[in-house]
Amino acid sequence: MATGILPKEMAVIAVPLVTLLLGVLIGYLAQRSGYCSIGGFRDYVLFRHTRLLSGYLTLIAASFAGYLLFWFLTPDAMEHFFWALTSNPLTPVPGAPAGLNPAAYLIFAAIPGFFVGFICMLLGGCPIRQTVMASEGSYKAGFFFIGMCVGSVFFASFVSGWVVILMRALGFGA
């Protein structure tokens, strides 16, 4: 069990507050910069603009740097830092929650990745851009967000179970 800077009794109270503050800061700056991951790749393909793409690539580099930094400072909180070296390299970060084999997790990454990129490109923004546009007053982005809210209940009730049953039936069980 990983332990962070705050003890458990304080962390359970701090979770909503810290994430709320983090969200306000990110939302404010995302509105200023028009931050978008899908838009970065799109602008590069269409116009060879690297402005938004630099934001996404910096995020990958900075998250590595941040996790490395806090791995030095608080090694107990970064139990499996550099996942590929400390765990089975082909499983996703939470472990293997559904009890499927590594090939299934590569399929879970590759196929949703393609369609998330494709659909979000056609709708003009990744999830954070849609959320920010909803706050800017765009009704259709607001409906995208409502769709995500309804979808999360639907996913937890039906889809997560169906996907695991389907993958087991196809022979990807561990």
Binding site: G23, T58, A65, F81, V93, I119, F143, F144, S152
Partner: protein
């Protein structure tokens, strides 16, 4: 010694930085690692500092569980805490404040068909993102954490965007002829 030009240049620098996406990218990366270092005692998973899809799922399912007494699945960190993660609420508030302060808040309406397309788009994107276990942002955080499947997600996402862009260009060309 006059301090006024210094303040102006600092303000200018900050206003330029705040409008550059790379600054926000660096900030999200560092703050996500910091929030994991701070809060991981409350529960996993790791590399969960910021994610629009997962945190929306946690928020909606967590609040539904509290209000309607259901037991929908959500991440342990939100299950153990007094309230689920609130970063999506924060993003909505922060973006609204910024849009109001800079006078960029503008109501934009479309027809009902547009609303339906975006609703279904959000619905489907969330299913796909949850099958993978994160939106593009958590994919970046997980790649930074050393997860190879997340790197596969980013590469196929880039391919999906390229295919979509080329398809749109092709359709636009056809309409011109």
């Amino acid at each position: 010694m006059s301090t006024v030009p210094d303040t102006i240049s600092i303000n200018n620098l900050f206003s330029r930085l705040s409008r550059h996406p790379a600054f926000l990218g660096a900030l999200i990366g560092i703050l996500a690692a910091f929030s994991q270092a701070l809060l991981i005692s409350a529960g996993g998973p790791e590399a969960y500092g910021f994610c629009v899809a997962c945190h929306t799922r946690d928020l909606v399912n967590g609040m539904t569980n509290i209000i309607a007494d259901t037991s929908l699945a959500l991440a342990p960190i939100s299950k153990n805490a007094i309230l689920p993660v609130m970063s999506v609420v924060g993003v909505l508030i922060g973006a609204f404040l910024s849009a109001k302060v800079h006078r960029e808040h503008k109501i934009k309406r479309t027809d009902n068909r547009g609303y339906l397309v975006y609703f279904l788009g959000g619905f489907v994107v969330l299913q796909l993102a949850m099958i993978f276990g994160g939106c593009p942002y958590r994919a970046a955080l997980r790649t930074g954490y050393g997860d190879i499947t997340a790197l596969v997600f980013i590469i196929t996402m880039a391919i999906g965007v390229i295919v979509g862009t080329l398809l749109m260009l092709r359709m636009a060309e056809k309409e011109e002829h």
